[in-house]
């Protein structure tokens, strides 16, 4: 089953590149929703069956695959924007940087000691690459929505790493982290709606009135 998990992780990496390379916000939100669903399925592939696992899968798929994308989609529709028009850094350079970071994360993971059973799989590099992609989206995009998408991708990267820690992380803490993510994104969604009302756009580069002279 683990090799199947590896193929899913490749898919996760591809979705990183889709989010890095697309200017269409709705498309990007959908891509991240698919990523969320994949992340929900992954625990089922690497751990033996239990009802507890089914519950976790259901929660993650609902939250990451449906609730959060729905929330962001609503913000996009209400602000009537479709595209990230002028990112701080163009799409091609971002994609190249994304590729570079992905390569570096494989290098980084290769230098760290791992359990023999994780040695041949890509959990660690995929996690770090996804984290870096999220960070890249966060820092290169202007629109508040894109920044939230970046934050979600970053959190997904952390989540992948969390899959290796089933013994060390109690369920309650895992659930708490997920709940924090949901509430955080929810609050961000509200703030986005307020930004669009206040500035009639979601362009965070308009948020400059607090600059230091």
């Amino acid at each position: 089953m683990i090799s199947l998990a590896d193929q899913f992780l490749v898919l996760v990496l591809l979705i990183n590149f889709i989010s890095l390379g697309t200017s269409r916000l709705i498309f990007s939100i959908r891509a991240v929703a698919v990523q969320g669903v994949i992340l929900g399925i992954l625990p089922g592939l690497i751990h033996p069956f239990s009802w507890h696992l089914v519950a976790i899968t259901l929660v993650i798929v609902t939250v990451k695959g449906f609730v959060i994308p729905q929330l962001l989609g609503r913000a996009v529709r209400s602000a009537e924007i479709k595209r990230e028009a002028e990112p701080f850094l163009g799409y091609v350079p971002t994609l190249l940087l994304g590729a570079l970071f992905t390569a570096l994360s494989f290098g980084f993971a290769g230098r760290l000691p791992m359990l023999p059973e994780h040695q041949n799989y890509m959990f660690v590099p995929a996690s770090i690459a996804t984290l870096m992609s999220g960070f890249l989206i966060l820092t290169t995009r202007r629109k508040a929505i894109s920044q939230v998408i970046g934050y979600l991708v970053l959190e997904n990267g952390i989540f992948i790493f969390g899959l290796l820690l089933a013994e060390a992380m109690p369920v309650m803490v895992e659930a708490g982290a997920l709940l924090d993510l949901l509430v955080g994104t929810f609050v961000m969604g509200i703030v986005i709606n307020q930004i669009s009302r206040e500035f009639s756009s979601l362009d965070t580069s308009l948020l400059t009135s607090l600059k230091e002279e």
Partner: protein, 476 residues
């Protein structure tokens, strides 16, 4: 006991949520904050034993942070009764609920020894404060809220991956997989140094962002500048200490590994850089709340440098944690009053505060004298301890940069504060309905009194507590 500390504020937040009257809500808030303070005092005197499994354990470090947080929240809750009376134009429901949720989460951070749970609680404090920064509902405050929420959330998320790295290190080392501080400290020697090093880098960046150490401080001036004074006090005196506590937990852990030298040096560099940045931006700051934000950057820098130096400076850092929290309370609450009275926080408009608001103006001036480290106030003692420890240990360069920054900051802050409180009220200054009342002046006065008392006399139990706590952070 542990449960009461967290559940009571949560019950309080549910009650305030249900109350339909804006006038009643702050009083309920004050009631629950008082109860929380009562429980805190009881827990300090009769320390509850460690919970089964070791998840909850109130040690000396936790006690100091819990005490300072509880005093500050209680005082701010009383202040809110007076303050919110002048903000009747909007509902205060979210504010009161947010403060109590934050108090519950903050208590959780201080009593838990489980790094994962600590992370969850810390992130909860970040989120629960976001609606409070947006209290003024205008374009500037939304900008501040957005920066705060995004930068702090990302920062704390990076800390989570650091915690995950630590957990994975325990799995790789084939010791009992755990995120309990005590287990990690016991097994720290066996953990793979690669994972631990990577973890510490992420944890330092993550908690450093939340604490507002330069260069990760960019959200701070905006958030503190646009939030109501009450919220500024809670952020700069309360949340900052929680992030510092998290850093101290990592410090405890690093003591048991080879990473301690790296961690100490990183703290010294970031701390000194924060002080220098604060010194540069403090000068000619026309917005007095933003000035206070840079003062907060300075003081987190002082605390970071102090635990970086080690030795007696650790005692200074812990006392500074308490002193800074109380003094920031005085300054932010008084600045909130001045802001209400002038309806401006620009020093071009705000002049002669001592004439217009003798109490608030006086408190602001006294707070300024205290925070810049002048006797007879508490920050003097702590800063003096830290500097003398730096020189005794022969860290001349660190001591020199520290002293010079303090001096420049004193001058820069004086250039903003003195014209504000002295002189004549500008004739074109608009008249507002605000006037000093017992409810808006009493709370900051109470804090100032504490700052003064701690400056001349440290009670023996508190001193014992500080010694116990600093022993936890000393190299053996």
């Amino acid at each position: 006991m542990f449960a009461a500390l967290i559940i009571l504020p949560l019950i309080g937040s549910a009650v305030t949520w249900l109350i339909p009257y804006d006038r009643l809500r702050p009083k309920v808030l004050a009631f629950f904050a008082c109860v929380h303070f009562g429980i805190t005092l009881r827990m300090l005197i009769y320390t509850p034993s460690e919970s089964p499994g070791g998840w909850f354990h109130l040690d000396a470090l936790g006690k100091i942070v819990l005490l300072s947080t509880s005093i500050l929240f209680m005082t701010c809750a009383f202040y809110s009764i007076g303050y919110l009376f002048y903000r009747r134009e909007r509902s205060n429901r979210l504010l009161c609920v947010g403060v109590l949720v934050c108090l519950a989460a903050a208590s959780m951070v201080t009593i838990t020894h489980h790094l994962g749970l600590m992370w969850v609680a810390l992130e909860t404090t970040t989120i629960s404060m976001a609606p409070l920064i947006y209290f003024n509902r205008n374009a500037r405050s939304i900008e501040a809220t957005w920066k705060y929420l995004l930068i702090c959330s990302v920062g704390v998320a990076l800390a989570l991956i650091g915690i995950y790295f630590l957990a994975y290190a325990t799995i790789v080392a084939k010791v009992e997989p755990s995120l309990l501080l005590d287990d990690l400290m016991r097994d720290a020697g066996k953990l793979s140094s690669g994972w631990v090093h990577a973890a510490f880098v992420f944890l330092l960046v993550g908690f450093g962002t939340k604490m507002g150490l330069a260069p990760l401080h960019t959200w701070k001036p905006d958030a503190y500048g646009e939030a109501p004074g009450l919220v500024g006090a809670l952020l700069s005196g309360g949340l900052v200490n929680l992030a510092f506590l998290a850093l101290m937990r990592i410090y405890q852990l690093s003591l048991a590994t080879k990473e301690i030298i790296f961690f100490q040096n990183a703290l010294i560099v970031m701390g000194l850089f924060s002080m220098v940045v604060a010194a540069i931006f403090m000068a000619k700051q026309a917005d007095f709340k933003r000035m206070l934000a840079y003062s907060s950057v300075e003081h987190v820098g002082i605390m970071a440098v102090a635990i970086g130096i080690g030795g007696r400076a650790i005692l200074g850092a812990l006392f500074h944690l308490l002193a800074n929290s109380l003094t920031k309370g005085v300054l932010f609450l008084a600045s909130g009053n001045i802001h209400r009275s002038y309806n401006s926080k620009n020093t071009d408009h705000v002049r002669g505060a001592l004439r217009r608001l003798p109490w608030s103006g006086g408190l602001f001036l006294a707070g300024f004298i205290a925070i810049t480290g002048s006797p007879p106030f508490a920050p003097f003692i702590s800063e003096f301890t830290i500097i003398s420890s730096a020189f005794i240990q022969g860290r001349m360069l660190i001591g020199a940069i520290f002293l010079i920054s303090l001096m420049i900051i004193f001058i820069g802050m004086a250039l903003t504060v003195l014209p504000m409180v002295m002189g004549e009220v500008p004739p074109e200054s608009e008249a507002t309905s605000y006037s000093d009342t017992v409810w808006t002046v009493g709370p900051p006065l109470f804090l100032l009194l504490l700052v003064f008392i701690l400056g001349v006399w440290i009670p023996a139990p508190l001193m014992a507590l500080l010694r116990d706590a600093s022993a936890l952070l000393e190299v053996h």
